[in-house]
Symmetry: C2
Subunit: 180 residues, 2 copies
Amino acid sequence: MITKQQYEQAKQKTLEYFEKAGIILTEAEKQNIEVADFGLNELESTGLEILTYVNTDRVCAKELVLFPGQTCPEHRHPPVVGEPGKEETFRCRWGEVYLYVTGEKTPNPKGKPPKGREQWYTVWHEVILKPGDQYTLPPNTWHWFQAGKDGAIVSEFSTRSRDESDEFTDPEIARMPVVQ
Amino acid sequence: MITKQQYEQAKQKTLEYFEKAGIILTEAEKQNIEVADFGLNELESTGLEILTYVNTDRVCAKELVLFPGQTCPEHRHPPVVGEPGKEETFRCRWGEVYLYVTGEKTPNPKGKPPKGREQWYTVWHEVILKPGDQYTLPPNTWHWFQAGKDGAIVSEFSTRSRDESDEFTDPEIARMPVVQ
């Protein structure tokens, strides 16, 4: 779990990314940035900063910020309460992101799993997203993603987000709510 | 139906809006801007410019551009094939937009229906959206919206878009595909 100070620092840094990209937020939204360390307390390597615009029973839209080299760890969204799992489209807005999904392994991938956690990164089909590029992920597909050297902003358009149902490859990961 | 020249002009103008707002598109997307005149051939007053990022069975995301004073006419999204109607969240990115929905009539609304078509504008509960503001519309709600004096860019996050099922108040309106 991250400390309040770590949270505040990450939040400030996240707001600077939005400012650079010209993405305008309300004051209330700025206070509601989520900083996810996935329970590992290694935010620099494993983490994700999230602004959720809307999350209804049917539709969810978010902006995701990744700091340079930061990784959203391998996971999938299984079926829940009779619905297929979450379907996600990732659209890169700023920076560069390396997305890995189930499929043929890409030789010499650009992304590197966080040190000491390599064994929990098992899907290696690479999709490189630059600003304007996007990729739609079918439900229940294993995936992970990492920002390039300048960090990245990624818009996510999806069905309902149910973080508590996500399955992670790394057994040490817990998708915990942030301390605020 | 608009001419090829009208289409090209509106497309160029739309791309200038995206540039001003720092919204980055691929070359293919730039070629796929939709210009909707709703069959009235009065694009300056009634019309909408649309870039669809994704439209799957479950999720749709678009950017909408409105030129100064341009109006997306009153319509609703009824239930289709056993699903509730389309649910939409509008988020203003740039400029200002006046959104009108079912509900208590707002005195002295800022929007003005296109001339000669006033009778087909029947819902008058006003929601003003400035950059960072958003509004989620329940399925099957009558609504229309108009840009302020500088035009507007609005992100739309929704369930599947089925334009052919939309119901318009104005009987002269036909949601036609554009000439390209």
